[in-house]
């Protein structure tokens, strides 16, 4: 038996993690590219028609096909597409004939702002409600908090948006119904996105914190004279951190996807509404780009949580190093 070298095992773990993450991202890129193979309709004829403004002739379509490189075998096209994607070149939108890369870049900022705002709000509210749910005695207040948390996770985001518009914009006139302009227009989209995140998170915090505090080592800590705040901080939360982190990351990553609905309802020019319009018009290059960016963001958020969790837990570190 020898003492574990923390740095070496940690380094091995990070390398392993990076490799796994790259594998998942690459697999996702293959799936995203494959969309073009499943697509109904021929992208070349769609783009040719967009350019001509009317149904295109076979010669025009063939010219576009060669221009887009659609005549090459699938693996070659995948390699070209991936190389382009890495430099931000996703080809031309079938709908607008504009470069998809710059359209996505324009809209990404809006979506990231929305996600950041609702992530912070959701995590703060979720942690607070969750700790309360774990600490409060069994009773009306705790029951109400828990039921409320479950309820907001069950309400469909699109309906929640409608309800808020109905009440706060139409009935009370406190905020505008839609659009993206001043700070007041940010309130409702952020609230709609943050509520379910907070709900999911609070439930996990309440359950895992309670579970951690019921462990024998908490009893042992009491036996050696530690006070309750110290036990919660040293024995409770660190041991509950794994599930809390995973769920928080899953929720924040999920926000990226939820923006699809919220941007659509509130008429925001973000990546989510871009994706919906691309899907609605079968604009495959735009669809691929939006899917790759949103999906990649989702995966990276979750993988980062895994990384942190693994670094916290000495047992998993050793497991990975082996």
């Amino acid at each position: 038996m020898k003492a574990p070298d923390r740095l070496a095992t940690g380094g091995g773990y990070v390398a392993r993690w990076a490799l796994d993450t790259a594998g998942v991202l690459l697999t996702m890129s293959v799936g995203t590219f494959a969309l073009v193979l499943f697509a109904r309709g021929d992208p070349a004829s769609v783009l040719a028609a967009t350019r001509a403004g009317r149904p295109a002739t076979p010669e025009q379509i063939e010219a576009v096909r060669v221009e887009l490189g659609l005549d090459a075998p699938a693996p070659v096209r995948y390699a070209r597409w991936l190389a382009g994607a890495c430099t931000g070149d996703f080809g031309l939108s079938l709908r607008t004939n504009l470069p998809v890369g710059s359209e996505v870049a324009d809209r990404l900022g809006v979506t990231l702002g929305l996600v950041a705002g609702s992530a912070v709000t959701g995590v703060v509210v979720g942690l607070a409600v969750g700790v309360a749910g774990a600490v409060l005695p069994r009773g009306v207040l705790r029951g109400a908090l828990r039921a409320g948390a479950l309820l907001v996770t069950s309400v469909p985001v699109f309906w929640l948006s409608y309800l808020m518009v109905l009440v706060f914009a139409l009935r009370l006139g406190l905020v505008p119904t839609s659009g993206m302009a001043g700070p007041e227009t940010w309130i409702m989209p952020i609230a709609v996105l943050a509520l379910p995140t907070a709900g999911v998170l609070s439930r996990v915090v309440a359950v895992t914190l309670r579970e951690a505090l019921d462990k024998p080592y908490v009893r042992a800590a009491q036996a050696r004279g530690s006070g309750m705040p110290s036990i919660v901080l040293r024995d409770g939360l660190p041991n509950a951190a794994g599930p809390i982190l995973s769920v928080a990351a899953f929720g924040i990553g999920g926000l990226l996807v939820s923006t699809v609905v919220v941007e659509e309802v509130f008429g925001w020019p973000g990546l989510g509404s871009y994706l919906v319009h691309a899907a609605g018009s079968r604009d495959v290059p735009a669809l691929q780009a939006a899917t790759l960016v949103l999906g990649g963001g989702f995966i990276l958020t979750n993988r980062c949580a895994d990384l942190v969790q693994g670094l916290i837990d000495p047992r998993s570190r050793r497991r990975w190093a082996r």
């Binding site: 996702m28 309820l151 469909p156 004279g225 609605g280 079968r282 495959v284 999906g295």
Partner: protein
């Protein structure tokens, strides 16, 4: 699934009501709907609810209630299709590769990992974006990612059982592969899959509604809940009846599904944290409700711990149920008291109750004096004068903290150490005292890196941090090899002698404590039935139960095949389950009086050191004949 079916299911059934309504509405929509969902009367558009149209009409004059019912039908059909595909593919693929292992398992596990880590809604959006909307696209898009969790659950469950003794036993009995997978692996793998499915219903219903809302799911002439909302969007401000019913329907189904999944997945509610934080408050209340009778001889001089008439009860179906009653014992400086009994006898309860280390729901009454302090009642802040060693060292140590961190904290709690370096020096000293080689290195290790014996030594080091007058050890050597056990017992004996410490050791094995104890208290059915000096108890046991325990100890040197003298029946009753002696049903000496009259612990010798609770006292046969 047995556990699920046997659980009192009233509340669970109540939770499932929206799901049942959903299924009924979906199944019987053509019979229940008052009108054709697709045909409207433009003259009767946007009418509020009325007897004719209970939920009003939409902008095309179509009956909202009928559309809602048909919406349930389409939603349910898609959900059922997706669930059937996912469950079948997931469970079969997962169970099969989980059992086979090898490269197939590795590949499938990777695929599952990737699919599970994809955002489901995004996959669905992308697939529908490429294929165009429609019911088939929807089913394909949702199934494409929803099978993976089932495969993961089934695989994990089966892989966990593959190398288990249960499977070994089946293989030895001659069971073939088909029998093992079909009879013994698939059913237990399906159970958690079904629990997951109860939550998945909500996810799928929500997915269908969301995609339809975005115009990518069920196409317009059909009624679908999300579809109804988007169609009614322009009129939401004026026609409220268009905004609420579809939203409420989706929410109710998803809510019920989430709640049901949660209930099925988790067991019963854990006790409130408040009780964990303030055990004293609750105990005091319980104590005033049930005054304790203290009628015992005065404690001997230099007693470290004096326990008198201690009772422990837990709330059960019919009120409080006692698990230990009338427990009295004392421990003197430099002495080891052993509490001995079978599993469920209440020996651990008797040892830990004075220090508030039981389940927070326990109601403790009686008295326990540590020096001059009463421990039962207010929050015992004097706990730190007591060191505790638990049976399972792996569970009693926080897996995320190093051994050193545990002991540092104990040292600081005891007000020793001071600065970081100084604290660590005390820690290392303690580890050395507990007989761990190279304390500086061990302090950096995590609990899982230590052997069972080393973990127990680490616990002992931690227990010593507060320079306690008393050490309580609950089955400290039960899970260890005999050689390691002997070393630990010798360590404890050495500590007693060097530090002049008092100890309470709990064990089921008289032979183990014989190596260490100065006196012994034998616990049966929650009461002490005999106590006295070790020598006396072993050489001249009085209580038939003590004799039974002694007879069960194997002795090297007896002829091979010699039978043990055993006690009939089994332990596990509580102190209030019989009117007379708890041991009478198993006792060879029992008389009719034994089942009606409860014996008290009475002294057998002039010094009152040896006591036994038996009406017949077999060791002093003259009195036996006299009383009967």
């Amino acid at each position: 699934m047995n556990g699920l079916l046997h659980r009192p299911g009233a509340r669970t059934a109540l939770i499932a009501v929206p799901l049942v309504l959903f299924a009924v509405a979906g199944g019987l929509a053509p019979l229940l709907a008052p009108a054709d969902p697709g045909v409207g009367d433009l003259a009767a558009s946007l009418r509020p609810p009325s007897p004719q149209h209970p939920l009003g009409t939409d902008q095309l004059g179509r009956d909202q209630l009928s559309r809602l019912l048909y919406g349930a039908r389409i939603s349910m059909t898609i959900t059922a299709a997706v669930l059937a595909i996912s469950l079948a593919i997931g469970a079969v693929v997962g169970a099969t590769v989980g059992y086979l292992g090898g490269w197939a398992d590795w590949v499938v596990a990777r695929v599952i990992d990737v699919v599970v880590s994809l955002p489901g809604m995004l996959v669905a959006l992308a697939v529908i974006g490429a294929r165009g909307p429609g019911v088939e696209s929807l089913v394909l898009a949702l199934s494409l990612w929803s099978w993976a969790p089932y495969a993961r659950i089934a695989r994990a469950r089966v892989a966990g059982m593959r190398g288990s003794p249960h499977m070994d036993a089946l293989r030895l009995l001659g069971a073939g592969r088909v029998r093992i997978i079909g009879r013994h692996l698939l059913p237990p793998a399906l159970a958690p899959c079904l629990v997951y499915a109860s939550t998945d219903v909500g996810t799928i219903v929500l997915g269908v509604a969301t995609l339809s809302f975005l115009g990518l799911g069920v196409a317009p002439p059909h009624a679908e809940w999300g579809q109804m909302l988007i169609e009614g969007q322009p009129f939401l401000g004026s026609a409220w009846w268009l905004a609420y019913p579809p939203g409420i329907a989706v929410t109710a189904v998803v809510f019920a599904s989430n709640l049901l999944g949660e209930r099925l997945a988790s067991g019963e509610e854990a006790p409130s944290l408040l009780r964990l934080a303030f055990p004293g408050r609750i105990r005091r209340a319980a104590r005033s409700a049930r005054p304790a009778v203290v009628a015992e001889p005065a404690a001997v001089q230099d007693s470290v711990l004096v326990v008198r008439d201690l009772s422990v009860a837990y709330p059960g179906d019919g009120g409080l149920r006692r698990v230990a009653a009338g427990i009295s014992y004392e421990v003197r400086r430099g002495q080891v008291l052993a509490l001995v009994g079978e599993t469920g006898s209440g020996k651990t309860t008797a040892a830990l109750a004075p220090f508030g280390l039981l389940d927070p729901r326990a109601v403790v009454t009686g008295s326990a004096m540590l020096g001059a302090r009463e421990l039962v009642g207010p929050v015992p802040r004097e706990r730190r004068r007591v060191g505790v060693v638990f049976q399972d060292g792996a569970a009693a140590l926080n897996p995320l903290r190093t051994i050193g961190a545990h002991i540092d904290e104990a040292v600081r709690n005891a007000g020793r150490g001071g600065r970081r370096g100084a604290t660590r020096r005390v820690t290392e000293e303690l580890l050395g005292t507990a007989g761990l080689p190279d304390p500086a290195m061990v302090a950096h290790w995590f609990p899982h890196q230590l052997s069972g014996g080393m973990r127990q030594r680490a616990q002992i080091a931690m227990a010593l941090a507060g320079e306690p007058e008393l050490l309580v050890a609950d089955e400290p050597t039960s899970a260890l090899d005999v050689t390691v056990q002997a070393q630990l017992l010798d360590l404890l004996a050495g500590l007693r002698d060097e530090l002049d410490m008092a100890m309470v050791v709990v064990s089921h094995d008289l032979a183990v404590v014989a190596r260490l104890a100065d006196s012994v208290a034998v616990v049966y059915a929650g009461r002490i039935v005999e106590s006295g000096p070790l020598e006396t108890l072993i050489k001249a046991p009085d209580h038939p139960y003590t004799r039974g325990l002694l007879d069960a100890v194997p002795r090297p040197g007896t002829a091979p095949g010699t039978r043990f003298r055993t006690m009939p029946g089994r332990s596990g009753i509580g102190p209030d389950d019989t009117a007379g002696c708890g041991f009478a049903p198993r006792c060879a000496f029992a008389t009719p009086a034994c089942t009606t009259e409860r014996p008290v612990l009475e002294p057998l010798d002039p010094s009152a050191a040896h006591r036994s609770a038996c009406l017949r006292h077999p060791s002093t046969s003259t009195t036996t004949d006299g009383t009967c």
